[in-house]
Symmetry: C2
Subunit: 357 residues, 2 copies
DNA sequence: CTGAAAGCGCTTACAG
DNA sequence: CTGAAAGCGCTTACAG
């Protein structure tokens, strides 16, 4: 597999190498300097013999005419979290970003930051001229941004982050996710809904609660909330407490707002026994895994890949100097109606007399 | 952040640019051509002003003296599977590879292959001189290798694959994983062990069974096996069948050979009720997630990151022409002793009379 | 033993 | 309007 160069194309057609360069130029003004027929022959030959420009040569050139920014090589910084909860959604965002970059004939370089010393990798890559911009996922905070700024390269943060400064970022619209769950159940006729949240203060959780509460107020929906550690979903003792809470709550629907909780909870409900959806409607929440989809629960699906893809588009705009507003852009989630929700029975769950209707 | 070049260093010290190049050369023979003191001054200055060689210039040069292979840019091909089971272990291997590459000042380019047309990306990257070698993870088969060969670049397959041809590859030693589970339980005094396997014919599963059976035969251990779909772990009906099977099996220990099954099974056992480890010992199996570790079950842990790291080492050897034997290299797993295994009670589980002892 | 010079493949300013 | 030439930063063969 020897490399095909512009010189070889030129030689084949009896033209100068610069004629070939002109024909292949990205710059439309420069292309016009060539007779249309000559250009056509050059492009045809280039295509036929499989010419692909040598990236290193192009990059080296940019050092000379630095004013025209390029968008060939993007780095994705994965700031490791203490848990590995984030791996799946981050991987999904990365996949989406890679897909979008491939369309632009650009590549994605993966860099994992585990310790502060790993930032040296970032600075080294920058100095080596390897990167045109950064996508950043994981445990992003002001300190990370402080490391990123001196690279002089544009960046976009993907997913939840802890920055207080205004930074270009892209995320799922968790507020809307929460609102849609409430609105879907309200439309079916539910008036009292139970919510099971993670006890950990994830950002996505608090955004979702924001949406849930605003939609509940707007729709006259009563809510009951319970915050549980993820382990509770599988612990028998916690499971019993959870069922007791649910039965006395008078709720006709349950939203399990932790990723992949629905299957375990569904199992728990069946043992109560509470039939889904006859006795109680169940809405699942899934972040970058597909079990809820496989079981076709009614569910909130988060388009993490779309966040990655849109992140690339945003970064591209910034590189080429488009006037991009700082702050967070949001991608709407999807509410998929499966079998696990329906209108509530007129005869509600066993309900304590103290609960007003 | 303007770039620091060899010329600038040379200018500062009143030397020629080639003297600087000699001092910084990787080639020890070339370094010796310079007086030690001159070399020291050059290195000191380079360090002080943060010189980092421009990667594109280095790469372009290699086009000229192509005989000396480089190992700067490695591509990781993620061949998407139909399910997303593989995402977590693949991400773990990728993280391990990135860490090892960073030590070598090399970078990892992520490419996702979802459709056959995506192989164009691979060929384009190759032609563009962007890659020195490939790491390949996911759904790798002979067809993938056939796409890879014409790139002319060395490759190493990480993790399970379906190639019939002999290819350089690195994997977890699943056979040993199975053997260790049996040997651990045998050492504690268990003589009859139950195994819960995925119904899907994963390669890791069959390797593990191989190890389990050879160790069982060697240690005089009786085994009972059940193959279940992953959903069985959470379905109440299947759960009851599973408990019945377990109780009548006469087993004093259970190995749940599906990733992250242990928690659900443990819950199921508690409802039976079967206390762990008093009534039955439980060994968990975990692939690139940490729930079993968090709960400190006795468990088999798979060092996926180590597979990635060793994969880089192997690829590096191949690039530099070391005589590497084809076929699979294996990384031993770890058996971690947690709270969930102990010696069996002398009074065994309820056991049907038809089972010989 | 030392240092000026060639050239990797490309892009673009500049001379004809 | 066209094409020869300069040069990005580096590595290495080659002339002094």
């Amino acid at each position: 597999l020897s490399r095909v160069t512009q010189r070889q194309i030129a030689h084949q057609l009896g033209l100068s190498q610069s004629a070939v360069a002109f024909a292949l130029s990205d710059n439309p003004a420069r292309r016009k300097q060539l007779p249309a027929e000559t250009r056509r022959r050059i492009l045809e030959t280039a295509e036929r013999i499989g010419y692909v420009p040598h990236r290193a040569a192009q990059r080296l050139n940019q050092e000379r005419f630095g004013h025209s920014r390029s968008f060939d090589q993007v780095g994705i910084l994965y700031l490791a979290t203490t848990s590995d909860y984030m791996d799946l959604p981050c991987h999904a965002m990365m996949s989406g970003a890679e897909h979008e970059l491939a369309n632009l004939h650009a590549t994605l370089t993966f860099i994992r930051i585990t310790a502060p010393a790993d930032w040296r990798k970032v600075h080294r890559l920058t100095q080596a001229g390897m990167v045109d911009g950064w996508l950043v996922v994981g445990a992003v905070d002001d300190q990370a941004v402080a490391q990123l700024r001196p690279t002089g390269l544009p960046f976009v943060i993907l997913g939840d982050h802890h920055c207080t400064a205004l930074v270009p970022s892209l995320n799922i619209d968790h507020v809307t996710a929460g609102r849609w769950v409430v609105e879907h159940l309200a439309r079916l006729g539910h008036r009292r809904i139970a919510f099971l949240y993670s006890a950990l203060p994830f950002l996505y959780r608090d955004r979702m609660i924001e949406g849930i509460q605003s939609a509940s107020v707007a729709g006259g929906i009563q809510t009951v909330e319970k915050y549980v550690p993820s382990s509770a979903v599988t612990s028998p003792a916690e499971g019993r407490l959870l069922l007791d809470w649910l039965k006395t709550s008078g709720a006709t629907a349950l939203f399990t707002a932790g990723s992949s909780w629905a299957t375990s909870i569904w199992r728990l409900l069946q043992e109560a026994p509470l039939r889904v959806p006859e006795d109680i409607s169940l809405v699942a929440y899934e972040c970058a895994s597909t079990t809820a989809a496989a079981q076709n629960f009614t569910r909130v699906e988060l388009p993490m890949a779309e966040v990655g893809s849109q992140g690339v588009v945003l970064l591209h705009k910034i590189v080429f100097g488009a006037d991009v507003a700082l702050g967070e852009k949001n991608i709407p989630p999807t509410l998929v109606e499966g079998w696990s929700t329906r209108a509530p029975q007129t005869q509600a769950l066993e309900r304590p007399s103290c609960v007003p209707d």
